[in-house]
């Protein structure tokens, strides 16, 4: 009897100790905020274009955390979907065409001599990438422009163009090799080629 009581007593003591440790750890290492939303937000392109149907990238991140599909972001495209799928451990699905298609990176350019200085585009730009003042010519700071398209529609004189950012020698990157499947039909192709050369 005594041994049984002793065993129970020890177990109770142990559980109390561990409970205390866990409780302390919970307080001590408490994580502020909603880390999953932050992580999702970090993967989104931050174009803030609203094509996903939300008023910005973070709201969409929150929506994804609450179960919305991960394929609503056209600027991010397939790469973002892949990254989100990896993070959330779900299947990568193709981009939802209803929200737009993936386009090459673009920036807005104002045809400056046509601008009437109405400041409408400034109000539309989510990242303050347009410089100008009332009745003055406006211009886009290309480096800050995310290419979200939002300034094009409000312009009453239609003087904003979305221009594709071409690849320059400085931004160019190497292609991925074609891989095995593309060329290798028979295994001893190498030998044949060696023969052909000699």
């Amino acid at each position: 009897m005594l041994t049984v009581l002793l065993a129970i007593g020890i177990l109770v003591l142990l559980s109390l100790i561990f409970g205390a440790i866990l409780g302390y750890a919970n307080v001590r290492f408490h994580v502020e905020g909603d880390p999953i939303v932050d992580q999702i937000d970090a993967l989104l392109p931050q174009t803030q274009c609203g094509q996903c149907g939300h008023p910005g990238c973070r709201p969409y991140a929150e929506a994804i955390a609450n179960g919305e599909a991960i394929n609503h972001c056209p600027p991010g495209g397939q790469a973002t979907i892949q990254a989100l799928a990896d993070l959330l451990d779900v299947e990568a699905i193709p981009l939802d065409g209803d929200h737009g298609t993936e386009t090459a990176k673009r920036v807005a350019v104002i045809r400056e001599d046509e601008c009437i200085g109405c400041t409408k585009c400034i109000q539309a730009c989510p990242v303050d990438a347009i410089l100008g003042a009332a009745k003055q010519m406006h211009t886009v700071i290309a480096d800050e422009c995310t290419g979200c398209d939002l300034c094009v529609e409000p312009c009453p004189v239609d003087c904003i163009d979305m221009v594709e950012v071409g690849v320059t020698a400085k931004t160019w990157s190497w292609d991925k090799p074609q891989g095995i499947a593309a060329t290798s039909i028979n295994i001893i192709a190498t030998d044949r080629q060696a023969e052909a050369v000699h």
Binding site: D41, L44, P45, Q46, T47, Q48, G56, C57, E114, I116, P126, V127, D128, A129, K135, E144, T146, C155, P156, V157, D158, C159, V167, T168, A169, K170, W172, S173, W174, D175, K176, P177, Q178, G179, I180, T183, S184, I185, I187, A189, T190, Q193, A196, V197
Partner: protein, 905 residues
């Protein structure tokens, strides 16, 4: 210790490496060649790492040999000089020597053939002046590393000052097959090389100066030793065994010093500086001869060339010119490579120019460089690992590259890969491993840049949101304050005292709040400044030269911002004590107000009682007692009312006046609303009219009638508005009269004019339609011009303009605007406010023109996308075009009158 230059330094070894066929003898058969001047020299502005240079010349300029034609653009950039005398014929995009095969901005120089030097200014006293000045001079001479990446030499030397240098290594290894340019350079310019090394050693003061050279260049080694012996130089010659890639910077360092450059660091971090032989010779030429970097040694080799050789070639010479010079056989040529077979890249076009870093042109036959064998699966043989000079695990890296696991690839030190190609060379499965690594590296770089950009976008977005929220909150607060203040001031005097006190009381905390906010801002700004300064320091240490400039700018900006905030804060306290004064001033009216309140309550009470009694009186009409009471109350009420009026008169004189005024203003308000409604009706009818005009409906006349009536009404109302006193009495009658009134003469004339206008418009429309039709039928411009329509169009337009001018003239005479169609709103405004600045009118009209143009553009776009509603869209387009023309005509007129006015003055 190394007193004798013959002494060979200790040679260590590095991991891996391969022994590909050297193929160096071909290009050493002939002596150094000097090709003739090409027809044009193509000088890319981005020959170095970092930002492209900025052109100093413009098209048509004549330049002399050695003249500066482009200057550096920031710290990590370089100068560019004219390689010969001639004329700048263009500054444009040309194909450049780059693996991408893309174009970049180039200065095109057409030589005049005389090859006249500009005045040379050598830096003869380089030993006596400060090293910084020498470095600046080197930068101005356009000296960059000629071995590979094209790192500006002065930047590299500056980086070397950070740590005391133990070794200054001159890279003469030239390990890549086929290339012999450095070999030839050492043979031809031995003395210049040694002098150049001495200048550089003077600049960096290293403990040991070692020339690392592969043992496959005996002639060059002998030449070097002779010169060094003669000069009794302390410079050592370290002959290293031939093995690819011993010429890699880190590999050569390991060979000569046994030290490994840690991953992610530079040689300068462990006290070592490497320079290419070509750079040393260029430094000598610049300092002792004053010659900028305008030519270089390049190897022309490959089976497709009849005369493979080394040449000293002017920068900017097109590769095609060199191929001609070395007599290439187009039939044999299968691949043109810039650089060597291991690290070079294929050129798509021979039009690209030689740049400062081009060490070899390899015109290979098919036999020499067969197309790569098809890729097979990795068999995990480990040969790549054996060959890798950077001690990496190529097959692992391949795996991560293929599966896009960038993070893991980085963990496996992908960025330490020097892209030497040794692994691809040995791979039995012929996997193009380097290509995979290059692709992965650029993908990672892109992703990094994207993160930087998206972080920035996020920051800006959040900052904007915060700003907007703050603005909204401020507005809301203001609105609340106003709401509190307004009703108490105008309607109820009793509330005015506390209400007036409230905002002033609120103002005081607001100022303290603001000063608090300012303080917080300052604190934030200061911490940001500190962070920036830290970053700047770090950048300076790590030679992130590109960052330094921008950081410095940021730092100064931040400092300015803080100073501004502090100034604001300093002004703050003076504002605070002013607030209570207002408070006390307002408080004095309080007692009077109280009395007034009491009196008013009295009046109300008596009034209620009186009403009750009167009701009773109606029920029992003969009650004398009741009648007496009522009389008594009535006198009471009168007395009370008197007090009230007296008191109100004393509180504020204007309150007394306000009541009768209120009645008048009420009526005025009503009148205004009526006028607005009438105007809206006019507009509506006008719209209907326009539509009717467009579709040529039969109801046009009826609608016109309506329009006229509505306008009449609106005009009358406006007149009434203009004359409020009369209006308050007979507004009703007037409006009624207006409805019933027959059209007077004036209106008749207006009608006629309007019809004329419509006809003119229709004429224009018709002419335009016909022109369009002709265009659609594919008639060309001339034919259309030959037809009658353009002239008709012009006629009609002129007529229209004339009509409009006519219209505006009488309209200004008549006080009320007769016509106010949508397309002449601006015009009628002109009449209504003749004193309005002409310039603003012109601006307004310009805007109208721009708007109309834009709308036409938009409509045209829509027409393209939805051809099914072509009809309606076309109509809209026509309407807009008319509007455009009117606006334009008006604009012209306005400008005309403006010039007239100016002339009159």
């Amino acid at each position: 210790m190394p007193t004798v230059n013959m002494q060979t330094a200790n040679i260590f070894s590095f991991h891996g490496g391969i022994h590909p066929p050297e193929n160096k003898t071909q290009s050493l058969q002939l002596p150094l060649g000097r090709p003739s001047l090409p027809n044009e020299l193509i000088l890319p502005l981005g020959q170095h790492i970092g930002q492209s240079s900025r052109p100093l010349v413009k098209v048509g300029d004549k330049v002399l040999k050695g003249e500066t034609i482009a200057i550096n653009n920031g710290f990590l950039s370089s100068f560019l000089h004219a390689p010969t005398s001639g004329t700048i014929t263009a500054i444009e995009e040309r194909l450049i020597a780059h693996p991408s095969g893309l174009s970049d901005l180039c200065i095109i120089l057409t030589p005049d053939g005389s090859d006249t030097w500009t005045k040379l200014e050598p830096l003869s006293h380089w030993q006596d002046i400060s090293k910084t000045d020498v470095l600046a001079y080197l930068s101005e001479m356009g000296i960059i590393g000629m071995g590979g990446a094209g790192f500006p030499t002065q930047v590299k030397l500056q980086g070397a000052y950070k740590n005391p240098l133990t070794h200054f290594i001159i890279n003469a290894a030239e390990c890549e097959p086929y290339i012999t340019a450095d070999d030839m350079l050492i043979r031809e310019k031995t003395l210049e090389l040694v002098l150049g090394i001495e200048i550089l050693q003077h600049l960096v003061q290293a403990d040991h100066v070692v020339i690392g050279i592969e043992d496959n260049k005996p002639t060059a080694i002998a030449a070097l030793r002779t010169v060094l012996n003669k000069r009794k130089s302390k410079i050592q010659v370290a002959v290293v065994p031939t093995k690819y890639p011993s010429g890699g910077e880190k590999q050569l360092i390991q060979l000569l010093t046994g030290k490994e450059v840690p991953s992610g660091q530079y040689p300068a971090d462990i006290g070592i500086l490497c320079q290419n032989v070509g750079t040393c010779v260029a430094v000598h030429d610049a300092i002792t001869l004053g010659k900028p970097l305008i030519s270089r040694f390049t190897t022309l080799t490959g089976d497709a060339l009849k005369n493979p050789q080394n040449v000293e070639v002017l920068l900017g010479t097109p590769v095609a010119h060199l191929l001609d010079y070395a007599e290439s056989e187009p039939k044999k040529l299968s691949r043109l490579i810039m650089g060597g077979p291991m690290m070079g890249y294929t050129l798509d076009s021979a039009a690209v120019p030689i740049v400062k870093t081009s060490n070899c042109i390899l015109a290979a036959s098919k036999k020499e460089l067969p197309p790569p064998a098809p890729e097979q699966a990795c068999i995990r043989c480990g040969m790549c690992e054996q060959a890798c000079p950077a001690s990496l695990l190529p097959q692992q890296l391949l795996w991560f590259s293929k599966s896009q696991e960038f993070e893991k690839a980085e963990h496996h030190n992908l960025f330490d890969c020097i892209e030497c190609g040794a692994c691809s060379y040995v791979c039995p499965s012929s996997i193009p491993l380097v290509q995979y690594y290059r692709h992965t590296k650029s993908s990672i770089r892109e992703a990094r840049e994207a993160t930087v950009k998206s972080d920035l976008a996020k920051q800006r977005f959040e900052a904007r949101k915060a700003r907007q929220d703050a603005e909204a909150a401020e507005k809301e607060a203001k609105r609340l304050a106003r709401q509190k203040a307004t009703p108490s001031k105008t309607t109820d005097e009793k509330k005015s005292a506390p209400a007036k006190a409230a905002p002033t009381a609120a103002a005081a905390p607001a100022t303290t709040d603001e000063s608090k906010k300012l303080k917080v801002d300052i604190a934030i700004g200061k911490s940001k400044l500190k962070k920036l300064e830290k970053q700047l320091l770090e950048a300076q240490e790590n030679e992130h030269v590109e960052d330094i400039n921008s950081l410095q700018l940021q730092v100064t900006d931040q400092e300015k911002a803080i100073a501004l905030l502090e100034e604001q804060l300093a002004q703050m306290p003076s504002a605070t004590p002013a607030a209570p004064a207002v408070n006390t001033a307002k408080a004095s009216t309080a007692p009077v107000n109280d009395e007034l309140k009491k009196a008013k309550v009295d009046v109300a009470l008596i009034g209620v009682k009186l009403k009750k009694l009167q009701k009773q009186l109606i029920e029992t009409p003969d009650d004398q007692e009741l009648k007496d009471k009522i009389n008594a109350f009535e006198t009471d009420l009168k007395a009370a009312q008197d007090t009230v009026s007296r008191l109100s008169a004393t509180t504020e004189s204007h309150t007394a006046a306000s009541e009768p005024k209120a009645a008048a203003s009420d009526e005025l308000k009503k009148l205004k609303i009526d006028a607005a409604i009438a105007k809206a009706a006019v507009k509506k009818v006008e719209k209907a009219l326009k539509k009717a005009e467009e579709i040529n409906a039969p109801e046009i006349e009826a609608i016109r009638q309506q329009l006229k009536e509505a306008q009449q009404r609106a005009d009358d109302l406006e007149k009434a508005l203009a004359n409020p006193e009369a209006a308050s009495q007979n507004a009703e009658a007037q409006t009624k009269k207006a409805d019933a009134a027959p059209n007077n003469v004036d209106a008749d004339a207006a009608k006629k004019r309007k019809i004329d206008l419509a006809i003119a418009k229709a004429g224009i429309k018709k002419a335009e339609k016909n022109i369009q039709l002709l265009q659609e039928q594919g008639k060309d411009e001339a034919e259309i011009n030959a037809s009658e329509w353009p002239s008709k169009l012009k006629e009609a337009q002129e007529k229209l303009a004339a009509l409009e001018a006519e219209e505006s003239a009488p309209a200004t005479a008549v006080s009320a605007p007769v016509e106010k169609t949508a397309d002449t709103v601006a015009q009628s405004e002109v009449k209504a406010e003749p004193e309005m600045d002409l310039a603003t009118q012109i601006k307004k009209e310009k805007i109208a023109v721009a708007l109309a143009k834009a709308q036409i553009n938009k409509l045209n776009k829509r027409l393209e996308s939805t051809p099914e509603d072509a009809d309606s869209i076309n109509q809209e387009i026509n309407a807009t075009q008319q509007r455009l023309q009117r606006a334009e005509a008006l604009l012209e007129k306005l400008i005309h009158s403006q010039t007239n006015m100016q002339e009159n003055r």
